[in-house]
């Protein structure tokens, strides 16, 4: 029986087909799905904040884009994936409340997306597709078999990137 593995907020996990991996209700957080189709393994990390250096409470690497993505890559490598074959898809980084973005130069959602792209670039992992920004939450499911990243949002048609 194929399973769908759930990843919580500030959490990560990996899986092999036919299992799939999901995270529910991404708001300003970003869900980064990475896959190596040769090794047939995929993973997902749900990061909350851009940078682990900016905050004191940084014991959990999956909480931050700058540490969560390298941690996910490590976990995938342990399952036989090779970094040079890895590709990524990203979703989330919304601005849920309009004044969120006014208080800072750039809203936390946008900063999470920027930090995610930066971290992936440093690792040399290309981004094949993204569904980021806007003002609504997303539930995402990643299929490591096909690389399909399915995005559900309230009152919007199902989207696959």
């Amino acid at each position: 029986m194929p399973e769908t593995i759930k990843v919580g907020i500030a959490d990560l996990n990996v899986c092999r087909p036919p299992d799939m991996i999901t995270t529910i209700g991404l708001g300003s957080c970003v869900g980064i799905a990475i896959r190596d189709k040769i090794a047939k393994v995929g993973g997902l990390v749900h990061v909350m904040l851009p940078n682990s250096q900016e905050v004191k409470s940084n014991g959990n690497p999956a909480k931050f884009a700058d540490t969560g993505i390298p941690e996910l890559v490590k976990r995938l490598e342990k399952m036989g994936a090779v970094k040079s074959r890895m590709v990524a898809k990203i979703a989330g980084g919304a601005t849920m409340f309009s004044f969120q973005s006014k208080s800072e130069l750039m809203g936390i959602g946008d900063r999470n997306v920027a930090a995610t792209k930066q971290a992936l670039k440093q690792l040399g992992i290309p981004i094949l597709a993204e569904d980021t920004g806007a003002n609504y939450g997303r539930t995402v499911t990643f299929d490591p078999e096909t690389g399909d990243y399915e995005i559900k949002a309230v009152g919007k048609p199902l989207k696959v990137i």
Partner: protein, 206 residues
Amino acid sequence: MAEKHDLTIEEMSDKYFDVLKEIGNIGAGNATTALSTMLGTRVDMMVPKVRLMEFKEVGTTLGGEEQLVAGIYLVVNGDIHGSIMFIQKKESARAMVQKLMGMPSEGDDFTEMELSALKEIGNVITGAYLNSLATLTNLTIYPSVPDVCIDMAGAILSVPAIEFGAISDKMLLIQTDFADDVDLSGYFILVPDEESDAKILHALGF
């Protein structure tokens, strides 16, 4: 002074917890009175529950991360800085709005008018809470204009979670159950910044 009160929320004493509960209690009492006046009906209130929760648990508290909720969020300035959110299930928010406007709403989405009414309700409820905090601590607190968002619980709760995320892996929820014939319960989430935590503790004599 900041060093003296440099507590993480995990280390907060039971006393501080009790104080927050008491503030929640008085705030909810004020909010109940205000709501009752606004809605023109009798509104009952349960004793609020204060809970420190892991981010992972928070979504399930409201009936799952995909539960549709209405979040009313505003920023607080003055002697302390932070933000406050009042969150309730979409049906509860709808019930409140219908009571306030005195007519059933059409369709599944909130109209502009209903959203505006919801903001006003949020204003009254969070205002009552902030008032009790200001009175007890003698601190000056100015709330901003509220903003409202209706979406999945996980997505809305990620906003205060991110703010808490900078200092902790847990967040503080104050559950307030209002009821008349329908369930109007909701949660307050108060996120003071680190410096403000110290100020609140100090003002309360800790």
